[in-house]
């Protein structure tokens, strides 16, 4: 139960950790990190789906007949690119927020918006 589904337990653990950090963190960069962990857990989920017991990496080689399913890996390459773009954009926004508010703590930004 635990050993057989080891990957999926890790996925759930990471997903919940990442999600919690996104919600609970006050620092915007920590939020982005949490978002990354959340997304990474989904990448592992996809890769685990594509695993076939006894199969090797999906590269044509002599004497190997069982391969892992390459499709989820390709999909996740795309999703990783999306994740990188999201992170980059998030960090760029944080840089500009820092310039505009002089802080990247959510509660301080909230206070500044309130007092105006």
């Amino acid at each position: 139960m635990i050993v057989g589904l080891f990957n999926y337990w890790i996925v759930i653990l990471m997903m919940m950790l990442g999600f919690y950090v996104v919600i609970a963190a006050n620092n915007l960069i920590k939020k982005v990190i949490g978002l990354n962990i959340f997304q990474t857990s989904v990448f592992i989920l996809y890769i685990s789906i594509g695993k076939i017991s006894g199969g090797t990496a999906p590269i044509l080689t002599e004497g190997v007949e069982i391969y892992a399913n390459p499709l989820p890996q390709v999909l996740i390459l795309t999703a990783i690119v999306v994740g990188v773009a999201t992170t980059a954009l998030g960090l760029a926004l944080i840089v500009r927020i820092k310039e505009a508010y002089d802080t990247i703590e959510e509660d301080e930004i909230y206070l500044q918006d309130r007092t105006l």
Binding site: K31, L35, V82, A85, T86, L89, L93, I97, A100, Y101
Partner: protein, 492 residues
């Protein structure tokens, strides 16, 4: 001709980097406008070809579906493509003058690049027949809309964009998880193929979990209460033209994807029979109508007000969909179309005010009935549409929504009462603007500034006239919505 479905996406996608290279604001604008007009022409042709029920299937790169990525245009997607590209053409025409006062000149070409990417993403979501491809286009449109929002003049635009980025990414990742689960069970990502294979594995927790993840993910993207918190600030602090474009298209396309997943992929029996989706959607939508309309009444910033009004209007659309009858579904699709026109018109009118007055709080509207008569007339027409006055488009869709609710007994009565109360609340928040504009003396500075330039008034009035046209000559929009609903419910 046979490559039209691909061109619909490829044109804006290719034009986006070219815009970046052009650098000059007016050139980039002309290119973006040209592409939007071409997109409109293509979507009109596609719409005509699907009128008789034909389904256009296009194998991207020559890889046959279900292995390759399929672009699939049926009645519903052709209708939504038409809405998105028409709104894009109108708002892009508005953009040139509008952003001149809102965005620094050196960033204009970047702005048009993001705008075209967003358009490509939204059209892509609508046209694709592949579940994973939908996720990719969703992220293209989302990432570019975060950028577009952050172009806003105030620093709050940055925090609004960041909040939207966090929530949007969580939503998109949930859609990714759901897609992964259904791929796990069926081994396919093509929507038509999924619809064939899913019934065999319906009775598993994996599919139920997939369904839940997908519904929550799309609900975040379409801003269903209580997942709407990203929407008001994003629309309020984005540049005017972006507010108009996103309000009229982005949430609509997310609603389209929700319809696609519920009705085409999972099927009505699973979504509403086995899963308690109907209760949840109707309950949340009714709350959305009240919370949205009530919050709208208390907003001082008019863009904020319109954004909260969007939350309420999305509630009406989802009520229609959740009624699962042919009339209800077509009311939902029809309101999707009508609300895009109406909200586009309202946001553009506010854009005109923003252009002339420099801001869009209720104080800026004082006396505008005299100094900006054309802008305010367009705003009033849009306002009547939101309220649902007869002879405007808003009335037609609310009428069908009430007709659909009549078939549902007690629940139907509650829905009808909420629709009526929601309309009354809409009267309240629209009236505040009318009162400020027509029953106050304009300030000296406002008299001097006068009416908005024609380049802004013409796009606004195109949408205002469309609001009236589709309120009187309902045949085109009602037929398209009815047929789309029927093919979703029956013709699988």
């Amino acid at each position: 001709m046979s490559h039209l479905p691909a061109l619909q996406i490829v044109l804006p996608l290719l034009a986006a980097p070219i815009c970046l290279l052009l650098r000059k604001s007016s050139l980039a604008w002309l290119l973006a406008l040209g592409v939007a007009l071409c997109g409109l022409a293509i979507s009109i042709v596609l719409f005509h070809r699907t009128l008789n029920g034909e389904i256009i299937s296009y194998a991207m790169g020559g890889w046959e579906p279900p292995w390759g990525i399929e672009y699939r245009v049926d009645r519903l997607s052709a209708f939504v493509l038409l809405i998105v590209s028409a709104i894009a053409a109108v708002t892009f025409a508005f953009a040139n003058r509008s952003i001149a006062r809102e965005i620094p000149l050196q960033k204009h070409s970047l702005f048009y690049t993001a705008l075209l990417l967003c358009l490509a993403g939204l059209l892509g979501i609508t046209i694709t027949g592949d579940a994973f491809n939908l996720f990719v286009f969703l992220e293209i449109s989302s990432l570019s809309s975060y950028v577009l929002i952050s172009f806003g003049r105030e620093r709050r635009a940055l925090t609004a964009a960041f909040q939207y980025l966090i929530m949007g990414t969580i939503g998109a990742t949930m859609i990714l998880i759901g897609t992964g689960f259904i791929y796990m069970m069926t081994g396919t990502l093509n929507m038509a193929d999924l619809a064939l294979r899913l019934p065999g594995v319906m009775d598993t927790n994996t599919v139920r979990a997939a369904f839940a993840f997908l519904i929550v993910g799309f609900s975040i993207k379409l801003a269903l209460f209580p997942l709407h918190v990203w929407l008001p600030n994003s629309y309020a602090y984005a540049p005017s033209v972006v507010s108009a474009f996103l309000a009229a298209t982005a949430t609509k396309v997310a609603i389209y994807s929700l319809i696609r997943f519920i009705f085409t992929i999972f099927g009505v029996d699973f979504a509403f029979g086995e899963m308690p989706l109907q209760v949840i959607l109707i309950l949340l939508s009714i709350i959305a109508v009240f919370v949205g309309s009530l919050s709208a009444i208390f907003q001082l910033n008019i863009k904020h007000m319109l954004a909260y009004s969007s939350v309420a209007q999305i509630g009406y659309i989802i009520i229609g969909i959740a009624l699962v009858s042919a009339v209800g579904l077509s009311a939902g699709i029809l309101h999707l179309f009508n609300h895009a026109l109406i909200k586009g018109c309202l946001f553009l009118a506010v854009g005109c005010v923003f252009y002339q007055q420099g801001d869009a709080t209720i104080d800026n509207f004082k006396g505008l009935g005299k100094t900006m008569p054309w802008t305010m007339a367009a705003f009033v027409i849009g306002g009547l549409g939101i309220i649902g006055m007869p002879l405007t488009a808003g009335f037609v869709s609310k009428w069908y929504l009430v007709l659909a609710a009549l078939e549902h007994g007690v629940v139907g009565m509650i829905i009808i009462i909420s629709v009526l109360l929601g309309s009354l609340l809409a009267v309240a928040y629209i009236w505040r603007i009318v009162e400020a504009a027509y029953f106050n003396q304009p300030e000296a500075a406002a008299i001097e500034r006068g009416e908005a330039p024609l380049a802004l008034l013409i796009p606004t009035w195109i949408l205002a006239l469309a609001t009236i046209y589709f309120g009187i000559f309902t045949q085109l929009s009602v037929d398209a919505a009815m047929q789309a609903a029927q093919s979703l419910l029956g013709g699988k």
